[in-house]
Symmetry: C2
Subunit: 409 residues, 2 copies
């Protein structure tokens, strides 16, 4: 792939059916912003939505808004919208808490649903919070956490495996795992599978029902553009739901929250996976992001995501500056971000940020750039390539201006 020129980028942007969406986001004045896989950009509609939720619903409606403004229904309502992005039925998804705590709930539920099995299986280098949640669940429920490299993961599933925990698109490499094949392999041995869709939802095709998936969680603040620390979502297949118990029992997951009973009885369906009072303001921001994403046809988003990634790969490789592709070259096997290894990746990422090209460093040696097809343009790619060329041609990347930034993946 030859490097993308500014003129070619302009032509590609002119032909882009998603081009009108870019104007519906507030983007940094300099940019380009290539970190939407860490924190998605702000939709312009979000502020109006938050003003209505805060000033009218909270300020004027106060407690009556729990019913009158649909606050109680928000977790299921927004969940049903996210379901359309991940190949799930409306009643299979609900929004609650954080990805971490939803991992906790579903890993615990899986262990309780497979009482004779002692192992939670995952891979080393999975996103840390997935492993930390698994470690905590294993301690609480007397199980063990076993890690096996992805190449051997199928062979590692055995009669002791209660649940296989994998991330659909890996946060570093962007490897996109074969959800249907791995799910089938686990089912053949009687194990459940929990998929973390944090780097998938809204970015790559996800077909939970088509893959026969059991359980999934995902993040609201990356490609769903729900805002920093947005509430997360969780999925359980309709078939599995009746057999699942939420280990993190709380009043909003009770069958009758306002009966104020002393004993816990889980609600029907996904509502049982609620715990405390829903984060109304965060839910409103998330809904605005999801509503906007749902306007953009999936096929167009996927095609553009792949084209942006290919353009970036071509541009970086054409620089011949010591970068090694650390993500799949085949876009069908890749998420919507691309990682390149370079011995000086940390300094290079800092030098790019100093030129307003925002991406991420991931230890030990990765430069990671994410492409959000709904607001990134081909011109963004061309500008980032040119900036990288200047960085590598000069001396600035040998003298990093910043210390470790500590951004959120």
């Amino acid at each position: 792939v030859p490097a993308l020129t500014a003129a070619e980028a302009e032509r590609l942007d002119a032909d882009d059916p998603l081009r009108p969406f870019r104007r519906r986001f507030r983007l940094p004045p300099d940019g380009p912003y290539l970190d939407g896989n860490s924190l998605g950009a702000l939709p312009l509609a979000t502020m109006a939505r938050l003003t209505a939720t805060v000033e009218d619903e909270w300020g004027t409606g106060l407690v009556t808004s729990w019913n009158a403004a649909g606050w109680f229904e928000a977790p299921a309502r927004v969940g049903a919208k996210i379901a359309r992005l991940i190949g799930a039925a409306a009643e299979e998804v609900i929004v609650a808490d954080s990805t971490t705590l939803n991992l906790w709930k579903l890993l615990g539920a899986a262990c309780l649903a497979r009482p004779g099995r002692g192992t939670i299986l995952s891979e080393p280098g999975n996103f840390p919070t997935d492993l930390y949640a698994a470690e905590g669940v294993a301690r609480a429920f007397g199980r063990r956490l076993r890690l096996a490299d992805i190449a051997e993961i199928t062979a590692a599933i055995d009669e002791d495996t209660a649940v296989l925990l994998l991330t659909h698109v890996h946060y570093k490499s962007a490897d996109c795992r074969d959800m249907a094949a791995l799910t089938a392999a686990a089912h053949a041995r009687g194990a459940l599978v929990l998929w973390d869709l944090s780097h998938s939802a809204g970015a790559v095709p996800v077909d939970l029902r088509g893959a026969g998936a059991d359980l999934a969680v995902g993040c609201g603040y990356k490609y769903l553009n729900g805002g920093p620390g947005a509430p997360a979502f969780l999925f359980a297949s309709a078939a599995l739901q009746p057999s699942l118990v939420n280990p993190l029992s709380g009043w909003m997951g009770h069958a009758a929250p306002f009966a104020f009973e002393d004993g816990f009885r889980g609600a029907e369906g996904m509502r049982r996976f609620l715990a405390g009072t829903p984060p109304v303001i965060g839910l409103a921001a998330l809904e605005a992001g999801v509503d906007l994403l749902l306007e953009a046809p999936e096929a167009q988003r996927v095609a553009k995501s792949r084209a942006l990634g290919q353009a970036w790969i071509g541009g970086v490789e054409a620089l011949d500056a010591g970068f090694t592709l650390a993500s799949p070259r085949d876009p069908a096997l890749r998420g919507s971000h691309v990682s390149f290894a370079h011995p000086q990746a940390f300094a290079i990422v800092q030098a790019l940020i100093a030129r307003s090209i925002v991406g991420d460093f991931r230890a030990p040696d990765l430069m990671r750039m994410g492409f959000a097809p709904i607001y990134n343009s081909f011109a963004d790619i061309a500008r980032a390539i040119e900036a990288l060329r200047l960085v590598m041609a000069g001396e600035e990347w040998r003298r990093p201006a910043f210390s470790e930034r500590g951004t959120v993946t």
Copy 2:
């Protein structure tokens, strides 16, 4: 106490040192709003704060705001402010997740810290989510939940009690428990105590350090005015912290979240009780509410809270309409809400709501009104008494206009 007249209310409001605060809230145009113990009112400053957080920090700053705008520090920063309201040291409080999940963390931590003890002790009729969390923790950690009436709770603490779980101000009766005495009784038998401050923080004097308290949780959306579903807080005494493990392990509670290690190592101090990514927008709204409350001297808030409650009790009893006080008459033994029992309480509360007097019904027969000294006035009480007089004199309360509202306590 004679019933409060409008003229007396006007005089009391004129003398109220907290009077200027009322204008700093958006309140319903009709009102009065007497349900701030369920959902606190909206500070006018909150919307400006949210606009800055969303438009500037998220919209323009994007991922750089995790450091540049203090997002990472927000849980500890807001926690340190709440600490000033509850008699804790700054480093003893952090903001995270929901009250329910914080109960889960601290009950689990208490069980792990008392490995030889098999019982979580609480009282029947405690707020349901406290009991549901205790039930879940008991299942996860192989303990049992035992309930004993509050009159017998001291006698029920024994060598098997790992942790005593009580609510400081009861959500129905407003009974304010003797935190120092109950904590001492538990300590005498080697048990820990976890206090739920949801109906206390910002409303009644709380002195965690003075009482020798171990653990506490509390709600952000009641008297702290943090907004619907605001994040909650948790407290562990400085002495106890090093021995505590957060059972809900997640990446933000890790000693080095951005080292992306496979194994979990808990952070120092209260940060170990974080789990997922902090809810930045919810934290901003909560901080605005807490900042405003901190401007009002505690002694003035407490004195006014008690005076408002006494005025309401006097007014309701002067109606001689079949109400029985279901809260302590002595304001020093009471929280900032008052419950009256009446066989037709449900219909009466609906009729009051139809007249814009917003309070709560709590099953089976309680009319509950909450008094937020920072924005409620004596005129609010006089108007509510007059409305109740009209309701009880007419027939309207025999024909309720609404079905069950299902509001959040």
